[in-house]
Structures are given as structure tokens and as C-alpha cells.
């Protein structure tokens, strides 16, 4: 049953216009072709900008106006609040006015009398009911007026935005009463600008604008439309393609998908920082200069700044391109331009090329926007997706900027609790370049793509322009830096790998430059970098030559190259790298970071391979090699407390004498290789037999008698010398425990950059340790020395060999590379060298070698003042070339004689 029905209603007003003293009458159509109907008991809200015709519509329904065209049917008695305090005679009391108003509404005196008490009670004016109405506050006015209007028992109740005057208590009472009377079947029409009130009272909303009904639907559909379309006509433009409807309104961009607004609040807008103050695009004055089917151009003026922004929005395929051209007056400098896109909170996950995550829920006390993902990680493109169930309503959105320039960065944020939405940002910082030449144009732009089926792989596809792929390695060029991934896991961390130049007392980083990238081939990336203020160019040639390794060549050309003091390539690796190595040294990184970076090697590495290794299976061994003769050298650092990583820096320091440079010169050429790490056993392997215990720990064997360690430092270890360098079992090899049972163990060791491996088989007997070491040669190699050593505690004072005996002397103060050899027996078979000490629980140690690689010697050695240990050793120092294969390295036993120990 309908209680209100309008059919094609038109309402006209004749208005007098006076221009330059001349009077002109014009017809203004307040309502144009309005048709709708309201059922009995329904509550309808009407919203619209000022001048839309809402009050006229209500007067029509109330019967005070007759339609100029069309028909209107209203069933029942109408009452309501259309004007505040209408019908009140100011000099009379509230009491008198109740009777007056009641009669104006059409009640008889008797009826008013009946309802009088209830009216007074609802209005709750207390004794003021007997005071003249002229002294009432606005709130009292509205209470009394509402009370009277509601007690009329109307069939239709109209309110024209007068409830705003009442306080919260009153509004609550009103709502309660409205719900009560709705139960009785009273129809309700309500004009307001307060969306909150609308939500509480009605579910159906009519959006009126310029006399026409724009939308007549449920509240969630109409309200977003209202905020999008309310405003001056010349500030609004929109275009549509398929499911996407884009509306520009006075500096805000609203995006609708399938008639549903996906950008709440300010939608998409631009903020600029000028002279250290922020200005938003929705605060500027806008004008639409071009509005076509698939593109829009608008011009905005920021007063009082005299900055003009021109937005060009166009749809290509499924992508929206949003170009913002900033025109600046001479002398003004823009510090930053920030694109903001506010998205519905239904978007729950985000993806970028290098990271992904979920939006956390916003805590209640959060008052400001906060970042969900830090800009440095994200790269050019970010994508957001909604939950599976929402995917129909909220399409996936991929947002990215088009041109790389200074400090471009994307950010993903959560808004504050009240706004409750997600924000994607693109910030372009303009650095220190303040244009003093007028008319400087800064034109950043953003591309937004919708409904991408798989956002992650799309982002990957568009980001691979700057990616080099290898078997397990991925190399990314991003914003002036190189990022390294192995098995899709980052091994470098921010700021990854970049170059730096020291010139004119300043450092110029590749991250600060403007660059041009070209992927010349699938495995060759070329980057050209230029800095403002320096007139040379840097060229990077990055080539992947083998599996999981690349060569990075850095060239420079330009007139300033000779003024450069120092150049660097810096890599920052993640802190999962625990050990560093170079040709002659290896060590652990300290676990604590200090204020300044720590130089681990304290020397400049010019030759050979050096690099880092970790302990987890996912951390590959990364090794560097400087190629070519160009003065470069490397250093390894434990970085400071802020960066918390391991850094490898390749330097090129110019000599003080300025050289004449012409054309392009190569300053760096390095090879970086990644390799799967050998799974290093953290846990030492232990085998025991009665009183003897053998513990294999990272390449050395520690021997315990009665749980007392008799070896020291390097304990039982092997050393090999090849190519002029020493390779020890404890420092430059990685070990794998292949067999450990009862009193037998077997370990396999591999050296990193010499093609050698060793296999140790150890057996522990109640009074001895048997060992057998096999040498595995992977490539023909020339070895100079092979050794098997047992380093024992200094408590051993006496020694004896096959033919002699003696006492160990004092340790020599000068530390030599070769320790003091006490005695050396040329023939090793069947002989032994031994140390005696039965006091203090240390057994006599007899070292026998039964079989070996080749003839050698048995030595007894006194170590240096640092190690303070005794060494029993087998040495083969014949220089020879060994071919590929497996050979017996050394086989023997260590026999203990501890009979006299108590």
C-alpha cells in the first residue's frame, strides 16, 4: 500500500534576476520529472546538495504546493518539522502555543486537551512550558515542535533537517519515538545532511540533485554516490568503461567498480610539499577542461601558492593512467609530490615484487596513518587484493609509478581507526633542486590496473624488465641498487648493492642518481647513471656468465672523472652470514654490532677469492673475485648497529697525482658467485670408548682422556699447502658428518676454492685412536705440502722419538710461520714420536703413522708463544702434481699409555 506517490512531477519557480539594473524573469525548475513512491510505514531519507529541491519536495508531500506538472497522491494526515518554530507566537507561552500549533495541524481543542500532558512530558521543558516562547533556546523550540508534531498521530511524518539543532539526548529520544511510530505504520520522510543520522533512521535513500533523482536505492549504494557527485558541475567529470566508473570531483578521484565505490573518503588525491608546507588537491580550485569518453583533463589552482596542477586521466585497456603535471611559479620549489589512493578496507593482502604481506587490523587507539610496508622494500609496483569472498566486489588493484627519478618510492599504509581504509602512495621527492627558472614542469604519473587475475605474477612480469635470472640466483636492479636473491630469498638487505663516488668533498650514491636501464639480452643488463652536479656518467654492465654468478663491470666517462678521490661498490648482506673467508684467513663475525663498522680482515684483499658463508641451508656461500688490473681491492666489514648486516666493499682509490683521463675507463670488474653451502654440522660429533673420547668439531679432532682434554687449540687437524697458500682442515673446509656409531665416525670435508676434499675415518679403542684420511682430488692440482698434526697441551714436558728423547724448551718469543722443529725423523714407518706426562692425569701419547701418501717425516714441534702447545706431526713436503682421483692421505694411530695414572 502506498502512502506517497509522485508521478512525473515537475515544479517550477519564477525568479527575478536583476542584472545591471535590468530585471529579467526566469523559470527555474526546482523539480524535474520526479517519480517515486513510498509504502506505508517505510522510512526514506533524502539527501542532496543545497538547492536540489528537497524542501520543495517535502512541501509537495505536505500539500502546501501543487505540482505544476504531473501528479502527486498522498494518503493520510501529514505532519512534521519543516521550519523551526513555525506557528509559534513568540509572546505566548508554550502552553498556549501547544494549542495554537495543535489547531494549525488540524486537531480540535478536545483532541489537543487529551494529548496535552503527553506532549508536555515528551518535550520535557519543565516549568518553561509556561514561559513565553520567545525566550526558548533553539533546542527547546525543536523539542516542543517535535513533540507536538509527533503527537498529532500523523500518517506521514516529514522532517526537513531540523533535528540537527537538538542535543544528543533529544536526538536519541526522537529516534526512539520515530521507531515507535514506524511500528504503527507511519511513513517517514527525512531530509538531512548528516549521514550518521540517515544510517540510524532509514535504509532507503533518495539522492536528489538539481531537481532530479540521481539514485533511489539502499543507503550503502547512495551515500558513496552522494559524496562523489555533490559539488559544482564544472568541477565534476566522469567516464566509464566496462565495470569501471571513474569520477573526478574537485581534486579527488573516485573509482567505482560495478557501481560500488572502492575508494572511500578522499579517494585518490595528490599532496604537494612546497616551501615545507603540505597542500592537498581537494583544497584547490578545479575546472574541467576536457571530458571525453575515455579521458579527462582538469586544471587546479592552489591558492595562494600560484601552483597549477593539470591532471590527465585516461583509460587504456584496463589501466588508468593518472598524470599530474605541476606548473610552478618562478622561485617556488616543490619538495615532494605524493599520490595517495585510499582503498576500501576490504583489501586485506598486498604484494610487491620483492615482498608480500597482509594488512593488519587497525588498533582502536590509532590516530594517524601508519606504514604497513616500508618503501624501500617495495619497488615500482604494488598490488592489493581482497578476500576471496569479496573478489567480485573489490577487484585487485595494481598501483605503480611510471618513471624512475630521484627518490621515487611506493608506500603501503593503514589509515587511522576512524577512517578505516588502506592507502597506497607514490612519493616523488625532488631533492634539493629548486628551479629558479620559471615554468618548471614536474610531471610524475601513476598507472593503476584493475582486476588483474594474479597480481603477484603480473607484478613479477612487469618488474622483470630489470631482472636477470640464473639457476637459483635472481638479480634485480631497483632504484640505483642491485638486489640479490637466491632461491627467491634475499641475501642482500637494504641498501643492497650500490656504487658510491667521492668527489668535491661529497659522496654521490647510485641510489641518488637518475638512471636509464636497458636489458640488452636475457643475461645482460646495462645501466647508465647520471648525477646532478657532476658531469660524468657511470655505466654498469652486469652479465650472468655461469650458473648463479655474474660479472659486474663499472665504467665511467666524463670530464670530472679525474677529480674523483675514491670509488666504491658496496654490498650489504644479511646478518645470517656468520663467517667470512679469504685466501689466507677465515673467521666468525662478532655477534654484537657496534656504533662503527668493524674491519674484519684489516687488510686489503687484492687477489684470490673472498666472501661470506652462513650456517643455514638457505644461505649460499657468496664469493667475490676482483678481475683485471685496476687498482681495486676488497674489504669485509661487520656493519654498524644501524645497518646490522655484513658488508663487502670493493674500493678503487685514486692516486693523488691526477691522471689524464679520456674516454671511458673501467674502474671495477668483479665476479660474484653464489653456491650452495655445505651443511656444516654445528654440533660436534663425539665417539667414546672407555677412557678415550674423540670429539670432531669443525675440522679438528679433540681428544679427551678421562674427560680431560689433552689436545689444545687446533688439536688433531690436517694442513695442505697449494699455490703458495695454506689450507687447513679447521679453517677453509666445510665438513659433513657421514657416519657416527659407537666408536666409529666418518666425516667428509670439502675445501671451497681448491678442488680437494678429505674423508676422515676415526675409530676409538680403549687405549687408542685410529685414523685414516683419504684425499679426494677433483681437479689436477699442484700441492707443495701435506701434513697431519696433533697439537697437545703444554703440560707435556718430555718427548722422545725413535732415537732420541728430551725436554721441550721454553716457547720462543718471536712468532714464526714455521715453529721450532725439535726433532725430525726422516723415516716414518713403524716409528713414532711421543710425549710423556703421566702426572696430572695426562697419559703418554704415541703418534704412529702406518701408511701415507708418500714418504715423509715425523716431527716433534714446539709451537709459538701464542699457541703454547706441543705438536706431533707427519709431513710430506715433496712438491708434486696430483691428478684427479682418490688417494690415501695418511693412516695411523695415536696410542695412549696411561697405566700409571691414578
Amino acid at each position: 500500500m502506498e502512502s506517497i506517490r509522485l508521478d512525473n512531477v515537475w515544479e517550477i519557480y519564477r525568479v527575478k534576476f536583476i542584472i545591471d539594473g535590468k530585471t529579467k524573469w526566469d523559470n527555474i525548475w526546482a523539480l524535474k520529472d520526479i517519480s517515486f513512491s513510498v509504502a506505508r510505514g517505510e522510512a526514506v531519507g533524502i539527501i542532496g546538495p543545497n538547492g536540489a529541491g528537497k524542501s520543495t519536495l517535502l512541501k509537495l508531500i505536505a500539500g502546501m504546493l501543487a505540482p505544476d506538472r504531473g501528479e502527486i497522491t498522498v494518503e493520510g494526515r501529514v505532519s512534521g518539522l519543516l521550519e523551526l518554530g513555525a506557528g509559534f507566537e513568540p509572546e505566548l507561552t508554550g502552553h498556549d502555543n501547544i494549542y495554537l500549533c495543535g489547531s494549525l495541524f488540524g486537531l480540535s481543542k478536545a483532541e489537543i486537551e487529551k494529548k496535552y500532558d503527553s506532549i508536555v512530558k515528551f518535550a520535557s521543558l519543565g516549568k518553561f512550558i509556561y514561559a513565553p516562547v520567545k525566550c526558548y533556546s533553539q533546542g527547546m523550540f525543536v523539542r516542543l515542535a517535535f513533540s507536538i508534531a509527533v503527537h498529532i498521530e500523523p500518517d506521514i511524518f516529514l522532517i526537513d533537517d531540523t533535528l540537527a539543532v537538538g542535543d544528543e539526548n533529544f536526538q536519541r529520544k526522537c529516534f526512539k519515538k520515530v521507531f515507535e511510530i514506524r511500528e504503527k505504520g507511519v511513513t517517514f520522510v527525512f531530509v538531512t545532511h548528516d549521514i550518521g543520522m540517515l544510517r540510524k533512521l532509514c535504509s532507503r535513500v533518495i539522492f536528489l540533485k538539481d531537481g532530479r533523482i540521481i539514485k533511489d536505492s539502499n543507503i550503502d549504494t547512495v551515500v558513496p554516490l552522494y559524496s562523489q557527485f555533490s559539488g559544482n558541475r564544472n568541477e565534476i567529470a566522469s567516464f566509464k568503461k566496462g565495470d569501471l566508473h571513474i569520477v573526478f570531483n574537485a581534486g579527488r578521484l573516485f573509482l567505482n567498480w560495478k557501481d560500488r565505490l572502492i575508494t572511500p573518503h578522499y579517494g585518490g588525491y595528490v599532496s604537494i610539499e612546497v616551501e615545507r608546507n603540505w597542500y592537498n588537491s581537494f583544497q584547490a580550485q578545479w575546472e574541467v577542461t576536457k571530458s571525453e569518453e575515455d579521458n579527462i583533463e582538469v586544471i587546479g589552482n592552489f591558492y595562494p601558492l600560484l601552483i597549477t596542477q593539470v591532471w590527465r586521466l585516461s583509460l587504456n585497456g584496463g589501466s588508468l593512467k593518472w598524470i599530474v603535471e605541476n606548473r610552478v611559479k618562478e622561485g617556488t620549489s616543490i619538495q615532494q609530490v605524493c599520490f595517495n589512493l585510499m582503498l576500501d578496507k576490504g583489501y586485506i593482502s598486498w604484494k610487491s615484487y620483492t615482498a608480500r604481506g597482509e594488512f593488519p587490523s587497525i588498533p582502536e587507539d590509532m590516530r594517524n596513518w601508519y606504514p604497513v610496508a616500508s618503501g624501500g622494500l617495495l619497488g615500482k609496483f604494488v598490488g592489493v587484493e581482497a578476500h576471496e569472498t569479496d573478489k567480485q566486489k573489490l577487484p585487485s588493484v595494481v598501483f605503480g609509478y611510471d618513471e624512475d627519478s630521484y627518490f621515487s618510492q611506493t608506500n603501503i599504509l593503514n589509515s587511522d581507526y576512524l577512517t578505516n581504509c588502506r592507502i597506497l602512495q607514490y612519493i616523488m621527492k625532488c631533492g634539493e633542486t629548486s628551479p629558479s627558472v620559471g615554468g618548471f614542469f614536474l610531471t610524475p604519473s601513476v598507472t593503476i590496473k584493475f582486476n588483474v587475475p594474479d597480481a603477484a605474477s603480473y607484478i613479477e612480469k612487469i618488474s622483470t624488465e630489470y631482472t636477470l635470472l640464473s639457476k637459483r640466483m635472481k638479480l634485480l636492479f631497483q632504484q640505483g641498487k642491485l638486489l640479490l636473491l637466491y632461491n627467491n630469498r634475499f641475501i642482500t638487505q637494504f641498501p643492497h648493492a650500490f656504487t658510491a663516488i667521492h668527489i668535491n668533498d661529497r659522496w654521490y650514491y647510485s641510489t641518488m642518481a637518475s638512471w636509464h636501464v636497458d636489458k640488452i639480452e636475457d643475461n645482460y643488463l646495462y645501466v647508465m647513471l647520471k648525477w646532478v652536479g657532476v658531469s660524468f656518467t657511470q655505466h654498469w654492465h652486469i652479465r650472468v656468465i655461469e650458473d648463479d654468478s655474474f660479472v659486474w663491470e663499472v665504467e665511467e666517462e666524463g670530464s670530472h672523472t679525474s677529480a674523483v678521490i675514491e670509488r666504491r661498490i658496496e654490498f650489504l648482506f644479511c646478518k645470517e652470514y656468520l663467517r667470512y673467508f679469504c685466501e689466507y684467513e677465515t673467521g666468525d663475525f662478532p655477534s654484537i654490532f657496534t656504533e662503527y663498522p668493524q674491519d674484519m680482515l684489516q687488510c686489503c684483499i687484492r687477489r684470490g677469492e673472498f666472501g661470506l658463508r652462513g650456517e643455514l641451508k638457505s644461505i649460499p656461500v657468496v664469493s667475490f673475485k676482483v678481475i683485471g688490473d685496476n687498482r681495486s681491492f676488497g674489504k669485509i666489514f661487520n656493519s654498524d648497529i644501524f645497518q646490522r648486516g655484513r658488508s663487502v666493499v670493493i674500493y678503487n682509490v685514486s692516486p693523488e697525482e691526477k691522471e689524464n683521463v679520456n674516454g671511458r675507463l673501467t674502474y671495477f670488474k668483479i665476479k660474484v658467485s653464489l653456491k650452495d653451502a655445505y651443511n656444516i654440522e654445528n654440533v660436534p660429533s663425539v665417539i667414546t670408548n672407555k677412557r678415550v673420547k674423540f670429539v670432531f668439531d669443525k675440522g679438528r679432532g679433540r681428544i679427551f682422556w678421562d674427560d680431560r682434554e689433552i689436545t689444545k687449540h687446533l688439536s688433531f687437524y690436517t694442513s695442505m699447502r697449494a699455490g703458495g697458500r695454506w689450507y687447513d682442515s679447521f679453517s677453509s673446509a666445510s665438513w659433513r658428518d657421514t657416519y657416527n656409531k659407537n666408536s666409529n665416525m666418518e666425516v667428509n670435508g670439502e675445501w671451497d676454492y681448491i678442488p680437494l676434499g678429505q674423508k676422515w675415518s676415526i675409530e676409538v679403542l680403549p687405549g687408542a685412536v685410529l685414523f685414516k684420511i683419504i684425499l679426494i682430488v677433483q681437479k689436477d692440482i699442484e700441492v707443495e705440502r701435506l701434513q697431519t698434526n696433533v697439537m697437545l697441551s703444554e703440560k707435556y714436558k718430555k718427548w722422545h722419538s725413535f732415537s732420541q728423547k728430551g725436554i721441550f724448551p721454553e716457547f720462543r718469543p718471536d712468532i714464526d710461520s714455521d715453529w721450532e722443529i725439535i726433532v725430525s725423523d726422516n723415516d716414518y714407518k713403524g716409528k713414532c714420536v711421543a710425549v710423556d706426562e703421566v702426572k696430572e692425569g695426562f697419559p703418554e701419547v704415541n703418534f704412529y703413522v702406518d701408511k701415507a701418501f708418500s714418504a715423509g717425516r715425523l716431527n716433534i714441534v714446539n709451537s709459538d708463544l701464542y699457541h703454547r702447545a706441543r705438536l706431533l706431526q707427519w709431513v710430506d713436503d715433496r712438491q708434486e702434481r696430483i691428478k684427479v682421483g682418490e688417494y690415501l692421505y695418511c693412516e695411523g694411530k695415536i696410542i695412549f699409555n696411561g697405566d700409571n695414572i691414578k
Binding site: 519564477r14 512541501k59 505536505a62 502546501m64 519543516l82 513555525a86 509572546e91 495554537l100 494549525l104 481543542k109
Partner: protein
């Protein structure tokens, strides 16, 4: 629609809202007294004051050879004041009460009518206050009170008719009310309020004759001042003028009333 039907329609309308009309009138009167210094005394004090002034002026300052000139004047001035002030207020009534028009769906004529009604009340009170004086002058006055009532009613209808017209005109031409004040001033001088019709030269008498208010004032004078019954002709004149004005008002109103709300 014929004139007859129109009149009936409007009369019916007014009749069906008579309770509201009563309420509005009463409240208007009450409001008038609520804000005043002497309250209901205004209705009494004002006419008395006016009477005294007239008596003073026309006894001691302006001397005209007519017996009981002051009372002569009073019997004309009170109706005139009712006429002019009621018309004036009626003309402004729509503008003053525009919020009632915007809020309530009532027959629009009630507004000027209630205004005229309120003024009528004041007029009657004034007459009542002056009645003792007239009684002293002419005991027979009391016999004609019913006739006086009839004249008052007819005068009321006359003013209502004019009021309905003028109130409407003023909505469309907002300066009408200022013209009206000048018109009424002029009108006063072509009505025999301060002087009897005999004083007017023959040539100009026709203007006076055409003036509706002359008939009314004449009737009032005859009843109150002279204590006689007006002639049949005079009464017919009064009736006709009331009818004409009322019907004109009704027609006028009917034609233009729909446009009021959009203009206010």
C-alpha cells in the same frame, strides 16, 4: 467556476476551519496584550486616550459649528481606525506569517482573516468603552445595538475582502504596503470622518459618494451619533459594498493563492 460556486467553496473552507480561525485570532489578541504594558487595558486605555485627545483638540483648538463635535468625530474615527489598521496588517500578514505557510497546510485566507478579526475585536472593545458617552448623548442608542452589530459584521466582511486582495498583492509587489499607507491617508480625506458630508462642495461630493467607506461611516454615524436607524438605501449600499469586495477578494484569492508559497 461560477462566482457563486467559488464563494461557496471559500466560505465552506473558512467555516470548516473556524476552530482554527478562532484559535489564531484569540492567540493573536492574547499576544498583543501579553507584550503590552497594561495588558488588556490596552484595548480600553487606547481608545479612551484617543477620545480625550480628540475632544481636547476639537473642543479647544479646532472649532467647528456642530454640536458635540468630538463625539461626532469619534463615531467616525473608530470605524476608520479599525478599517485602516486591519487593512494594513492584513496586507502584511502573509509576509509576517510566512513560516506558518511553510509549515502548515491550512487555508491561506485564514491568515488575513484572523488579522482582521483581531482588529475587529479591538474595535468592538473600543466601541464598548465609548458607549457610555454615546448613551449620555442619546439614550436611544442602545435600541439599535443589534443593527450596529449587523453593520459591524458587514464592515468586517468588507475589510476581509479587501484584505484578501491586498495581502495577495503585497506578496507579489512588496512595496504595495508603502503605497497603501499613502492611499489610506488620502482615503481618509475623501471620507467624511472629520467633517460631515454637507461640508463638501457639490462638485466633489460624487467622489465621496463613490467611496465605500462613506456609506459605512454614514451608517455608523447615524446609529451611534444620531441614535437613529439608517435608511434602507444606506443599508443596501453597505451590503452591496461588502458583497462586492468580498466576492472580488475571493475571486482574486482563488486565482493567485497557489503562487504565494513560491514567492514567499
Amino acid at each position: 467556476m461560477s462566482l457563486h460556486r467559488l464563494a461557496v467553496k471559500h466560505i465552506k473552507r473558512i467555516y470548516s476551519s473556524r476552530h482554527l480561525l478562532w484559535e489564531m485570532t484569540v492567540k493573536k489578541i492574547k499576544a498583543q496584550y501579553a507584550a503590552s504594558l497594561t495588558g488588556i487595558g490596552v484595548a480600553i486605555v487606547n481608545p479612551l486616550l484617543l477620545a480625550f485627545v480628540i475632544i481636547f483638540v476639537f473642543s479647544y483648538i479646532i472649532r467647528i459649528e456642530i454640536d458635540n463635535f468630538p463625539l461626532f468625530i469619534i463615531s467616525g474615527i473608530f470605524p476608520w481606525l479599525f478599517f485602516s489598521s486591519a487593512l494594513f496588517d492584513a496586507t502584511m500578514s502573509f509576509l509576517v506569517h510566512k513560516n506558518i505557510l511553510h509549515q502548515f497546510n491550512i487555508p491561506k485566507e485564514l491568515i488575513p482573516i484572523s488579522v482582521v478579526f483581531a482588529h475587529c475585536f479591538n474595535f468592538i472593545v473600543g466601541l464598548v468603552v465609548m458607549m457610555p458617552f454615546f448613551y449620555l448623548l442619546n439614550h436611544r442608542v442602545l435600541l439599535f445595538i443589534p443593527l450596529l452589530a449587523a453593520v459591524i459584521i458587514l464592515h468586517f466582511i468588507f475589510v476581509v475582502g479587501l484584505g484578501m486582495m491586498f495581502s495577495l498583492v503585497n506578496v507579489f509587489f512588496r512595496d504595495f504596503v508603502s503605497f497603501l499607507s499613502t492611499i489610506i491617508m488620502l482615503w481618509l480625506w475623501i471620507t467624511p470622518v472629520f467633517y460631515p458630508l454637507d461640508f463638501v462642495p457639490d462638485k466633489l461630493r460624487i467622489i465621496f459618494r463613490l467611496n465605500p467607506m462613506t456609506s459605512f461611516i454614514d451608517c455608523y454615524r447615524i446609529i451611534i451619533f444620531q441614535g437613529k436607524s439608517p435608511s434602507f438605501c444606506a443599508l443596501i449600499e453597505v451590503v452591496l459594498w461588502s458583497l462586492v469586495c468580498f466576492l472580488t477578494g475571493v475571486v482574486f484569492f482563488d486565482r493567485f493563492e497557489s503562487r504565494i508559497l513560491k514567492r514567499i
